[in-house]
């Protein structure tokens, strides 16, 4: 949405598109913020159950995914530097690395969720509802919603990056007009930012 003015308006205002992107990021923060409020209240009300349920999650996969996201955040940040230095090849390479890392993140997530399903844990599953305490039901409910919504943002972010990649390739995003790439980067960092909080809150409860 940030690139829309660039075609209809004769002048190009990178500050406006950056501000627009930031404002959009604020709404995303509040969107996840709502979920963090829910999480925080229920953890406050069910501390023991949250701890028990948290131990079911695989810290190793979580840590690997954290590092993947952090690295991808670095590569996309570097890609703007590469673009500004007019190194188109390196820009494209870094963007491809970012997308591949995002894909690896999703594959990991897929296997992680798959294991949970295999153990009979999914939202509203009989095992969850009949054999677990209320706090654990809430934990897994929130786990699926929050990581699911985060994964959705990963997918949106990937599409955003791919669009930017295409534009860099065509040359319409270049050192003089880098807004779209910068905004894709901002969005991707947001995804990273949310994961920075999701990881300890779900995987590191003891």
């Amino acid at each position: 949405m940030e690139n829309v003015t660039q075609h209809s308006e004769p002048h190009y205002d990178p500050e406006a598109s950056k501000l627009g992107m930031w404002l959009f990021i604020f709404t995303e923060l509040l969107l996840f913020g709502g979920l963090f409020i829910v999480y925080s209240i229920y953890r406050f009300l069910n501390p023991v159950a949250f701890q028990l349920a948290g131990e079911e999650l695989n810290v190793v996969i979580g840590a690997i995914n954290t590092i993947i996201l952090l690295v991808s955040s670095m590569t996309i940040a570097m890609s703007t530097t590469a673009l500004q230095q007019k190194n188109k090849k390196l820009t494209l390479f870094l963007l491809i690395v970012t997308v591949v890392l995002a894909l690896v993140f999703l594959v990991n997530k897929y296997f992680e969720w798959g294991t949970k399903f295999h153990h009979g844990i999914w939202p509203g599953s009989p095992h969850l509802i009949n054999d677990m305490s209320k706090g654990e039901i809430l934990f897994f409910g929130l786990y699926f919603v929050m990581t699911g919504l985060h994964a959705l943002h990963i997918i949106i972010g990937m599409i955003f990056i791919l669009v930017a990649l295409k534009r860099v390739q065509k040359g319409t995003v270049n050192a003089d007009r880098p807004s779209l790439l910068e905004n894709a980067g901002l969005y991707w960092h947001l995804v990273d930012l949310i994961w920075i909080f999701l990881f300890p809150l779900f995987y590191l409860i003891h």
Partner: protein
């Protein structure tokens, strides 16, 4: 407004930030094994806050942006904190 002050961040800066972020991730994982009781959440959140500050200032370029953008970010975070605080006025004292 001209786009004259487009600050180019060197690659190595990003790399150092990444190293710091990964180190802190391992530190917060390590923190789990130390028994801090109720404070372990606090510890994890402090690490997350430092990490997100790094991401905001360097990766998201806030350091090089106009001050009003920084003010907005801080404002939004404070608004969220206030929401959380007021909601707890209910749950903590119920």
């Amino acid at each position: 407004m001209e786009k004259e002050k487009h600050h180019i961040v060197p690659y190595r800066v990003y790399f150092y930030i990444l190293l710091a972020l990964i180190t802190m991730t391992f530190m917060s994982i390590g923190l789990v094994h130390i028994n801090l009781g109720g404070y372990s959440v606090l510890g994890a959140l402090i690490f997350s806050t430092i990490k997100s500050t790094l991401v905001l200032t360097w990766f998201m370029h806030l350091k090089f942006d106009e001050p009003f953008l920084r003010i907005m970010v801080v404002f939004v975070i404070l608004v969220f904190a206030a929401l959380l605080f007021i909601t707890y006025l209910d749950y903590f004292f119920r």
